[in-house]
Symmetry: C2
Subunit: 362 residues, 2 copies
Amino acid sequence: MSNPSLLILPGDGIGPEVMAEVRKVIDWFGTRGLTFDVSEDLVGGAAYDAHGTPLTDATMAKAQEVDAVLLGAVGGPKYDVLDFSVKPERGLLRLRKEMDLYANLRPAQCFDALADFSSLKKDVVAGLDIMIVRELTSGIYFGEPRGIIEEGNERVGINTQRYTESEIDRVARSAFELAMRRNKKLCSMEKANVMESGVLWREVVTEVGKDYPEVALSHMYADAGAMQLCRWPKQFDVIVTDNLFGDLLSDAAAMLTGSLGMLPSASLGAPMANGRPKALYEPVHGSAPDIAGQGKANPIACILSFAMALRYSFDQGDEATRVEKAVEKVLADGVRTADLLGEEGVTPVSTSEMGDAIVKAL
Amino acid sequence: MSNPSLLILPGDGIGPEVMAEVRKVIDWFGTRGLTFDVSEDLVGGAAYDAHGTPLTDATMAKAQEVDAVLLGAVGGPKYDVLDFSVKPERGLLRLRKEMDLYANLRPAQCFDALADFSSLKKDVVAGLDIMIVRELTSGIYFGEPRGIIEEGNERVGINTQRYTESEIDRVARSAFELAMRRNKKLCSMEKANVMESGVLWREVVTEVGKDYPEVALSHMYADAGAMQLCRWPKQFDVIVTDNLFGDLLSDAAAMLTGSLGMLPSASLGAPMANGRPKALYEPVHGSAPDIAGQGKANPIACILSFAMALRYSFDQGDEATRVEKAVEKVLADGVRTADLLGEEGVTPVSTSEMGDAIVKAL
Ligand SMILES: CC(C)[C@H](C(=O)O)[C@@H](O)C(=O)O
Ligand SMILES: CC(C)[C@H](C(=O)O)[C@@H](O)C(=O)O
C-alpha cells in the first residue's frame, strides 16, 4: 500500500512559519514508520505573487487527488488593493467549493493551562469544549447573482444567500453524527424570524433530527446565539449554522476560549473512492501579517490541525491523541509563545522552539 | 404650540410590563410641565391576536404622524407556527422600513454598579462605552428576490443582500457625526474579503470619511470584529456596520457589558417637516417570554429608551441626563430587579418597584 498523501499549502503571513513546525511533527512520525507523501504548493497571496492567481488549476487538481490538504493561512494588507476576483481569500474559497468541503468543524476549546488568557471569567470558560459545525460551500459566500452593478445613477452591491434542502440536510447530518459521539446536544442557529433561508434551514434540521432521536435538538436565532456564546458558552455541545453566521460565531467562540492560537479546524466533504473524506485542515487563526516573519507565531493550532488530519483522514486516532497530549504537556510545562505571555514563571519561546518542544514531548 | 406626540407600542412578552413603568416616568414629566400626547397601540403578536396582522395600516399611519414611537418588544414561541409573512417580527420590520429608520444607534455601555454581571473580566468591561450604528432598512433583511422556491426536486431558501451607495452613504454619515461628538474613532465592519456588497460598503465609507478628516477611520472584517469585541471591546468608540452584522455584533456587545436589561436603542430616519427625525426607540433586550407577566422584568432599558427619545427627538438633553442619572442613583443604591441579582446586600425588587424607585430618584 502506498503512503497516505498530504498537500501542504503554507499560504501567507505566519502560514509558512507555523507550517515549518508541522513538518517537524510529520518527520517525527516518519522516523516511527508512519510516512506521508508530502507535497507543497502555493495558495493565496503567495500564489498570486508567483502566478497572478490565488490558486492555480494545477494546485487545485493536486488538492483533489491527495488524501488531505493542510493549509496555513491566507491574506494580508499587501493584497487589499487587488481586485476581488484575485484576492488571496479566493484561493481558499475555491478549494472549499471545488473539493465540496461542506462541513467545517471548529472546536472551541479552552486549554486548562490557558484559561487565564480568556477575556471571560475563568469559571465561564474553564473546561469549555464545544464544536461548531459551519456549512462551508454555500450560502452568501457563493450564491448568485453577486457583484457590484450600476443602477440608475449609483452602484449597488449584491450578494445572494441561497440554501437548498440537500445542502442543509448533509451538513445537519454531519452535526448530528458528531453530537452522537459527544454529549448528544445540538443547537442550530439561523435567523428564521427574518430570513426565509433560515426558515428552510430550521425545517430541514428539524426533519433530519427525526433520524437522531437521542440527540436533544434546539434552535436559536443567531443574534441570541452570539449573546449566549458570550454569556455562558458551556450551555452548548455542538452548534450547527450556515456559512456566514458560522464565520462570525466560530471566531467569537474561538476568541472567548482565550486559546485562539491553539485552535485547529477540519473541513470535510464526501468520501472519496478510498473511503477517506475529502478534507482540508487549517488553523482557525488568520495570517497575522503584523507578526509574520518574526518567530513569534504560535504553531500549535496548525500542529493540532495536523492531529485532526490524523484522526479524520488517516484513521490514526491514537496518534492524534498522542500529538494532543504532547501539546498539553508542553503547555503544562510552561512553554509559551509570545501570544501566550503574561503569566508569571513562563518561558517565552520562538515558533521554532515551540515546535521542537512538542516534538520532544512526542 | 401643541405637545410633542408619542406613540407607545408595548408589543409582546415583557413589553407591556416594562412600558407601564415608562408611563410613570412620562407622567412624572407631565406633572413638571413637560407633557406628551401619548397614544398606545398594538404591534407584533399582540396585533396579530387582535387583527390577524402584526401591524395594521392604521397603526402604521399613526407611527408616521407622531414625533416618536416607543416600542417594547415583539415575538414569542406562541407565534413560531405562524406563516413568515405575519410573524410578530414583520410588524417591527415594517415600521423600520416604512419610516425609513436607517440608523440604529445601539450603545453598549457597562454600568459601573453592574460590571460584575458581565461574563467578561472586570477590567475588560468596566467603563466600557461604545456605540454601534447598525444600518436598519436594507441589506439581507429586505433585499429581493427572497423566499422559498421549488427547484428540481427540492426547495431552495433565498435571501438577497443588497446595498446601494446612497444607503451606505447616509448611515456612514450618521456614524461619522456621532464619532465627532464622541472620541472621533470609527470602525467599519463588513466582509469585503468575501462579499462584493462589503467591497462597496468599504469604498463608500472610505469616501464619506474624506468629509470627516478628524475622525480616525478603520476597517475590520466582521468576523475579526466579533473577535475583537470579545477580546478587548474598549478599543472601539463608534462601530458602523450593516443590518445583519449589526444584529449579531450589537447583541454580542450588549451581552458582554453585563447590562443587557439596561440597554436602550434609537432608530432614526430623515428629518420630518418639523425638523425632528423620524424615530423609534426600543430596548435592546427581547420579549423574554419565559419571565413575562411575573413582575421580574427590568424596565430600565425601556426607560432609558425614553431618555434617548428625550435627547434625539425632543431636544431635551438635560432631561434625558436627569433620567439617566436617576437610573444610576437607583443602581448605586443597590436596587435590583431579578435579572441583576447575585451580589450580596442588594434589594430584589419587582418591575413596578423599580419603576417607582426611578420616579422617586427623579
Ligand atoms: C479568510 C476568509 C475567506 C475566511 C472566511 O471568511 O471563511 C476566514 O475568515 C475563515 O473563517 O476561514
Ligand atoms: C426582532 C428581530 C426582528 C430584530 C432583528 O433581527 O433586527 C431584533 O433581533 C433586533 O435586533 O432588533
